[in-house]
Amino acid sequence: MQTLRYILMRLAKAAVILFAIVILNFCLIHAAPGDPAAVMAGEAGASDELFLQQLREKFGLDQPFHIQLWKYISGLLQLDMGYSYRQDAPVWDLIMDRLPATLLLTGAAFVLSIVLGVVAGVMAAVRVGKWADTAITVAALLLYATPLFWVALMAILLFSVQLGWFPSYGMESIGSELTGFRYWLDVAHHLVLPATTLGLFFTAIYARMTRASFLETAAEDFVKTARAKGLSEGRIARRHILRNAILPVVTLAGLQAGQIVGGAVLTETVFAWPGIGRLMFDALLQRDYNVLLGVFLISSAMVLLFNLITDLIYLLVDPRIELNT
């Protein structure tokens, strides 16, 4: 019951934040030079006043700013995210078209990074000071310091072009008309490179974080108690240290799970992954306001959702927690 109330409270708060975000973004985006009509005119290779006026009228851009804002918001309140005139489709459809791809990519990257990161971090912490620790720490540092797009370029060069192991772009073999299991296998094959490159950076973060947290927890009193009980080191590491050390990692993961939705722009660009990061970037360049706002709204909502989920997970893992509403 209390959980439910808590969740409802959080959702209400999230709605307020989202509302503020919508307004801010609306103002920001409209502050950018040019408008969608101008972009379309710019791309068309020919245009005149009439052409622009028709477009602006059609897009509703001829109306005063506050009316546009009001229309957008009242649309949202009716769960209507507006229409992309450029792409001639409802924003909701466009986003839903692309969202699964992004979720798949970031989800895979997320799972990969957290699993790999935690394992590497624990391995380093357990062997602190030994060569394995040094190797993991150095590797994590290097990954952390390398530009993501750079890794992506190198990965394509090596694994697609030189070795031919993985496709270099896209989410599926276009036109192969695979179905069922074979289809998913194909998608998985395409997923390897982008998910890995996107995940590696976060792997580095989790590894470093886990290592630090693990070492810190290992110095706590209850670990000494566990030793005094005669437990084996492996069991102490697993049941006592790791479980406590993982908590800050969970927090970070929650924060980042939301952020990588927006952060996938680079990966989606390099790998031509048809996700919403790319949709956002294109929409920005095309001043496709509604789409851009929609993507922002959705990804902010994701962030809030993931934060909530993290807090709920925290609740499961840590009995001490007192959630403040």
Binding site: G45, D48, Q54, P274, L279
Partner: protein
């Protein structure tokens, strides 16, 4: 030729829509040129060829154009195509939606369909380039039965384009690909040969190159990879390139030079700019040789180019002398690059270096398409990169950039420089209305000489966009618009 097979082509950027009657930007034409058709096609010398019209006649006074249409043509939804569709498209639909086509319509008195397979265009006055206006991008024929009486821009059918072309729209997975399939009921037996075309969206130029290399892509239409990549890709086994298929467009690059204010308003200063630029270097290095130096507002690849036009060769000393003469005081000149990819950025940098070298201070103003458009439309620039199509005739593709009646804020496609010369205005006006090619040449030669003398704009290069494709793709580029309608004839030798 063999039938069958599937082909993968890059489309870049992802088009905003495929309804060619509404949108005529590059990628839309690439894809939709195979869905929609017009009355004619043009061979590489810009001679008209049959398309929806199987034959046509022009009256001697140059005022009456009569087209006989193919019979048995069906729209992709199974409805019959008829001359009414043509009249509707030209007279109603495109009049409302197509800015460039409207220019031609000004010379048209009436468009009629005496019978279901005949269309007659009656002109008010002779209009030299009129026969060049029946290309799919200029005058796409749209289905009357779907659009008549509706709001064209909001018609839901825009999402599933219906044409008469050799390929039908099948699926568009946004951000990923557009799938076209063979039109089984195409009115020419045996055509097309291909079963399907996948137009793939790959946002990153390097990724496009890799996709071609790894065999996932068969055709890279012109401009889809950076020029630096072309020689490498062209050098691969079983890869062919061609610079053909751009004759109709003859892309012509130049910088708008703000003729209104600042130093660029001084003709001598503009001449100095011309002498300062090493356009051979730009051609060889930035365009990898896939270009020619542009000496005139008219492309050397189209009709009416004057080979004797005065040429500004690379001559920094002369540039400096001219700058001294006008007393240039070091006020920075703003360069607005074209936000179309790395090549264009490098180009702006090269221009900047050339100008810096003769002592002209410069500053590159980076923007995206929207910003570029806005700055040009608002005349907020000193030098602004652009490239324009010639559309086969100076009356269609050149005059618009230099005549004073075309000076208006709000569009980057009119006389953005703000060049005003009554004599030039008159020359263009006269030339358009002449039917005889010789008379027209004379007028255009005069116009070119004057515009070049005044440096109304800073011409850079006549661009070629090599199409890169696997050699087993045959007959890909057969017309003056290349892949835009190229898959009608293409076949796979596999």
């Amino acid at each position: 030729p063999k039938s069958g097979g599937r082909i993968n082509v890059v489309v870049q950027p992802e088009p905003p829509g495929l309804m060619l009657g509404l949108i005529q930007n590059g990628p839309t034409q690439n894809v939709a040129g195979n869905i929609y058709e017009s009355l004619l096609r043009y061979d590489k010398d810009l001679n008209p060829q049959p398309s929806l019209a199987k034959e046509w006649t022009v009256s001697d006074d140059g005022l009456t154009y009569t087209f006989k249409l193919h019979s048995g043509v069906k729209w992709h939804d199974g409805e019959d195509f008829s001359a009414d569709d043509v009249v509707f498209s030209a007279d109603v639909f495109l009049r409302e939606t197509h800015a460039r086509f409207r220019v031609g319509l000004e010379h048209v008195e009436s468009i009629t369909a005496p019978d279901a397979e005949t269309v007659v265009f009656q002109l008010k006055n002779p209009f030299g380039p009129f026969l060049g206006m029946f290309e799919a991008g200029t005058m796409p024929i749209v289905p009357k039965h779907i659009y008549e009486g509706t709001s064209f821009k909001d018609n839901p059918a825009n999402a599933t384009p219906i044409g008469t072309g050799p390929f039908k729209f099948e699926e568009w997975k946004k951000g990923s690909y557009i799938h076209l399939v063979k039109n089984e009921d195409y009115y020419i037996d045996g055509l097309p040969y291909l079963d399907e075309i996948y137009w793939q969206v790959i946002p990153d130029a390097a990724a496009r190159a890799v996709a071609f290399e790894t065999g996932q892509i068969d055709v890279l239409p012109g401009g889809s990879v950076e020029n630096f990549d072309v020689p490498r890709l062209a050098g691969m086994d079983n890869v062919c390139t061609t610079t053909e298929g751009w004759e109709f467009f003859a892309p012509h690059s130049f910088m708008w030079v703000n003729n209104r204010e600042g130093w660029t308003a001084k003709p001598k200063f503009r001449q100095a700019l011309m002498y300062a630029m090493n356009r051979e270097f730009m051609k060889d290095v930035i365009w990898n040789g896939y270009a020619e130096v542009a000496h005139s507002p008219v492309s050397s690849k189209t009709r009416f180019y004057d080979t004797d036009v005065a040429k500004y060769e690379f001559d920094p000393e002369k540039a400096k002398a001219l700058l001294d003469e006008v007393g240039y005081d070091g006020t920075p000149v703003r360069i607005l690059p074209l936000p179309y990819g790395e090549t264009w950025n490098r180009w702006a940098e090269a221009v900047k270096q050339n100008l810096d070298a003769v002592g002209v201070k410069t500053e590159i103003v980076a923007t995206d398409v929207a910003g570029w458009n806005q700055k040009l439309s608002d005349w907020d620039f000193d030098l602004g990169f652009t490239y324009l199509y010639q559309y086969g005739d100076p009356a269609l593709g050149v005059g618009r950039s230099y005549i004073s009646s075309n000076i208006a804020k709000g569009s980057p496609w009119n006389n953005v420089s703000g060049y005003e010369n009554a004599e030039v205005d008159q020359l263009f006006a006269d030339a358009a209305l002449k039917a005889s090619a010789a008379e027209r040449q004379e007028l255009y030669t005069k116009a070119q000489a004057q515009i070049v003398e005044d440096v109304a704009a800073a011409w850079l290069l006549e661009l070629s966009f090599p199409t890169i494709y696997r050699c087993d793709v045959k007959d890909l580029v057969t017309t003056a618009i290349g892949v835009n309608d190229g898959f009608k004839d293409a076949w796979l030798d596999r």
